[in-house]
Amino acid sequence: MSALSSLPQASSIAPQVDALFWFMLALCVIVVLGVLIAITVYSVKYRRGSPADRSGRLAQSTGIELAWTLIPLALFIGVFTWSLFVFARMRSPPEDSQTVYVIAKQWMWKAQHPGGQREINALHVPLGQPIRLTMTSEDVIHSFYVPAFRVKQDVLPGRYTQLWFTATQLGNFPLFCAEYCGLDHARMGGNIVVMAPADYSRWLEGHGGAQSLAARGATLFRNHGCSGCHGANASVHAPDLDGLYGRWVQLVDGSTVIADDRYIRDAILLPKQRLVAGFAPIMPSFSGQLSEEDLLALIAYLKSTSSTANDPPAIGSESTHEHD
């Protein structure tokens, strides 16, 4: 069906989105044609002066009206249900996703691979591998949009949003910013470069950072003094962060929260916001001392110390999992 359009179906979700789209479009065309034909036929047949029989006209009919209330409603609920399945898939990254971090700013896209490779206004990904993007913005709201993949997600300052895709076609696909973000909004684009896995490995090696993201995070962890309190030999009574990522944390107010990307970010920048049960509230805020890149490196480091290598189950892009 992609023959109807020049837009490639280059991700695993694209054919599912298109199937729903073409179905709904067909439904719309049928309704439009039906109504337009009725209007045309009536307009000709019942024009003033025509010989058509006008006796027995209904002024209202509860039966007819209920029919065209309930039939559309049933159709809508059917389409809604179908849409839910596709939407839920769009929002649920597979277990074996590989995480890449994306930072948006006026007016560029910066990507960081787990191996430490960085790129600007481009993102190299391997064919067939689910990629999960964890994204944040340094300034205003942007939106990561790849039409060929049928994916889009707003990128907000102060929080992480997520998007995933599995590329199914080799090649370059345009990346756009879809949320108006100021002067050069229209120029805030780039390319998603989908490569065969072997080529991708070579690309990674050729662009290898000096150290992996997690290793850079480990360096930051020492240099900013985090290890002084949170390290294994620390004298200060602070939570041990080894293996923290993805675990449930008990808070002072009795609620629990899962230690995901957002929790760790908030704990570093706003340590007084959600106090962990059993520890004195003595941690200073690192707001202003760490860039968005640094924060993501720290998160990658903490993740690397976790025994559960997988990301926590992410349902929805907003990762508030408070149980209170």
């Binding site: 389409v79 939407f87 345009p174 892009s317």
Partner: protein, 539 residues
Amino acid sequence: MSTIDATIPVPSARQGFLDGDESLRAWLSTRDHKRIAILYALGITGFFFLGGIAATLIRLNLVEPNGLLLNAETYNKAFTFHGVVMVWFFLIPSIPATLGNFLLPLMIGARDVAFPRLNLLSWYLYMAGGLFTVAALLAGGVDTGWTFYTPFSTMFSNTNVILVVVGVFITGFSSILTGLNFIVTVHALRIPGMTWFRLPLFVWSMYAVSLVMVLATPVLAMTLALIGLERLAHVGIFDPALGGDPLLFQHLFWFYSHPAVYIMILPAMGVVSEIIACFVRRRVFGYRFMTYSILALAVIGFLVWGHHMFVSGQSMYASMVFSILSFIVAVPSAIKVFNWTATLHKGDITFEAPMLYALGFVGLFMMGGLTGLILAAPALDVPLTDTYFVIAHFHYVMVGGSVMAYLGGIHFWWPKITGRTYPEGWARSAAVLMFFGFNLTFFPQYILGYEGMPRRYHSYLPEFQILNVLSSAGASILAVAYLLPVAYLLWSLRRGGTAGDNPWGARGLEWQTTSPPPKENFRRRPVVREAYAYDEPAP
């Protein structure tokens, strides 16, 4: 028709509201709802063409992939001005403040609205808000988009955000006061015999839209005030750098701005119901269902705002709830389209210009509504939102729908308002030209959006050029089609034929008085019957 009750002393049998004191001072201090409607019409027409100039610049610029004549900064200001002016200074007041003001008291047999002074104040507030907005343009413009998304609008834009926010804030009060006035008028000033289910659907639509104005607009006022506070005092409501939440802004903004869509479309539905009944010469099919669906739209319209936020970072479950509610709100709209169509059945149809506009409305509104269903499905909204698909969708509803209905209404009631007939041939040509120009402008934008062209782009990839050129060509046709009525309607004020009291043979109470109506609206008590009593002879 012209037997006048001799017991009422009148200076002249044919003296209308336009006669009498014609000084500027008298006009600017008038409390006559009909004169206030004319004042509004002048303001609204002015703003329509201001917004239209911005649209012309946008379409001209997009002829070339790199932008034909504007730089990015000017382009961003042009689409912001276009959106702000068209939404708040044209679409929202258009039908309620002009046709509504003029017709609502006439249709229910009242002398005026309930609060004539408040009505005049509404106009002054509207104009004052407009002045702030034009001042912002003269001071260099604004580049936030009409949606004022934070934190861009509060902490990053270096343009005149405050001036525009103040302008829209003030104009909002004009909406609130008009809504309040109409609600009280419909409740308190109906002539005896005019029961709720005898009200013309136009009155029902005015009543419903007034409820929405009164309940939703205060939320807009509050949200705009918070933007101002955050810009000036960095209070930290919306900017995460200050501890705020940018999604909070979007929730508040769309809590107003989605019901605002119904402020724009409900009156259009009312107008079209009057026109279709008149030119089919039949009662509107399913009158009661039509009233219920008007009310359902007004109520459910408050519960669907989150469908603007499927990719915003809103939780998946919230998106699912807003999605099903958005599908449900489409049902009353579907009922209306089917009922208008059914009204044609076994009618006695003629195709004067108002009818052409009304039929154009039904077709274009239906296409806008159905593509809205596609956007109500989150799985499809994800790729399509913030692209030209959305632009096409809401222009089909707002321009193909509301503007067509507004112009249909202006033509339909022109003889009543001015006492003159307009040139029918010119009017029909303009209506047909508008229909084709509109489709050529906006249909290509559906395809552009599906192909992935984001909105608010000053420049674009070369593969999008053909569709953009088609759209701009359509826009030039549309521009001519909008200028034509200005020319021939102005011409008709002096040269048009004299309209009788009821040139269309319509059944509303407004057609039982003279054209134009006298200051006190009725010189003799109008005969009240069922709405659309086309199967009985005119009184």
